[in-house]
Amino acid sequence: MRAFLERHPHLALLVASLFVQLLLLAYQIKTENEIRLLRVWAVTLLTPIEKVADFVVDGTGALWNRYIALYNVEQENQALRAELEQAQLRLHSLEARAAEAEQLAALLALKQNRPQEPLLAAEVIGSTAAATSHTVFINRGRGDGLRRNMVVLTPAGIVGKITQAFPGAAQVLLITDRTSGVGAMLAGSRVQGVVKGTGTSQCRLDYVPVEENVPVGSLVLTSGQDQLFPKGFPIGTVSSARRGQYFHEIVVTPTARLSQLEYVFVYAGAPEGAARPAEGNGRN
């Protein structure tokens, strides 16, 4: 630069004088938006530089933060993982409590809707150890007034009946057990039959004549004909129906979630002496 000035002083002076006048012109001239041309030039000149500088600074910062300055990330990651696990545990606990509260609320509603019927709440404390036996144990027993053949149900539907009453617990035979039978009727047509357990998660409805129309999805209720289960409680819904020689072959899915029982009601209105086994006519 200095060498150029010494070698071409006239040219340098020319450039300087033109430059000064150019700035002077730019200061005086305004654009259509009343912005001085000098300001427009300055902004136009500086904006790309600022953008580049901003890009470099941001890029450097991002490079530093994301790839270099990671010495605390491992510890932070571990702490966050631990915190996440605790939160998940807390969430599961809350979900379980919420489900429990929901069930209790449903049971309370059932009891309030049938104030004249003797319902005793019980908690399911265990299930059978054998796959072929669909039974559960509840925390109420003979000491609470429970007797054999008392009906066990939930707000969604019936569960089964008590087969053994111990001093502090009772064994409940689920309606899905092979030996179970419940007097039933189709909610729409009032056609009666017997719901029998199949040893699976589903039941079957027997003795429905082929002349009757059995829509899939129909609700199956207790008929009370077995003089054990009170009339009008839901048992399940028709999953499939196929015509047989004389009767329909109907598969029923229980409305009570028998595999996830936690709280149930015992219908204490059927004393042991009054109950009758449902043998013969499909009754257990």
Binding site: P9, H10, L11, L13, L14, S17, L18, Q21, L22, L24, L25, A26, Q28, I29, L37
Partner: protein, 168 residues
């Protein structure tokens, strides 16, 4: 025409310089009142060209053009610097040419003034176009006529001014 080694440098009394420049501005301002066509002339430009050619120093020439041009801007409605840039470049160019060419002959002076006048118009119009956003024809017949008249007037005026110069 000859190379720089064969040209002669001239000096002027500051008084001559001031009188000539002020006279150029005065005449440029008042003659068109009586002769409207005279507005096409550029007498301050003639002064710049003459002194730059005679002094044969680019720095002196461009400063002379700068001062005269800015003064002309100040006396007009143009933004300061528009005439200034044009006359700065013309002053520099005239000095540069004066170093390298023999400029004493009337024909040479005629052609030089003609050329510098057109150069001045191109620069002035270019600045107006690029900076002010007012596109205008840089050269047209009227400009050529004005250039020719200014050149003829310049030959006469230069002959008159030669009487006041001194060899350096």
């Amino acid at each position: 025409m000859a190379r720089e080694t064969r040209t002669e440098l001239y000096r002027f009394s500051p008084l001559v310089f001031l009188v000539v420049v002020f006279s150029a501005f005065f005449l440029q301002a008042y003659v068109p009142f009586y002769v409207p066509a005279a507005s096409l002339l550029d007498l301050p430009l003639l002064a710049v060209i003459y002194f730059a050619l005679s002094r044969r120093n680019p720095s002196t020439g461009l400063i002379l053009g700068l001062v005269v041009g800015v003064a002309q801007d100040a006396l007009t409605h143009h933004p300061i610097g528009q005439y200034g840039m044009a006359k700065t470049l013309v002053g520099f160019a005239a000095s540069w040419v004066g170093i390298r060419l023999e400029t004493e002959q009337p024909v040479a002076r005629l052609l030089l003034v003609l050329g510098f006048f057109l150069l001045h118009q191109v620069i002035f119009g270019g600045v107006e176009w690029l900076l002010l956003g007012r596109p205008a024809p840089l050269l047209n017949l009227q400009t050529l006529e004005a250039a020719l008249v200014t050149a003829l007037l310049g030959v006469l005026a230069f002959r008159l001014l030669d009487r006041f110069r001194q060899s350096a």
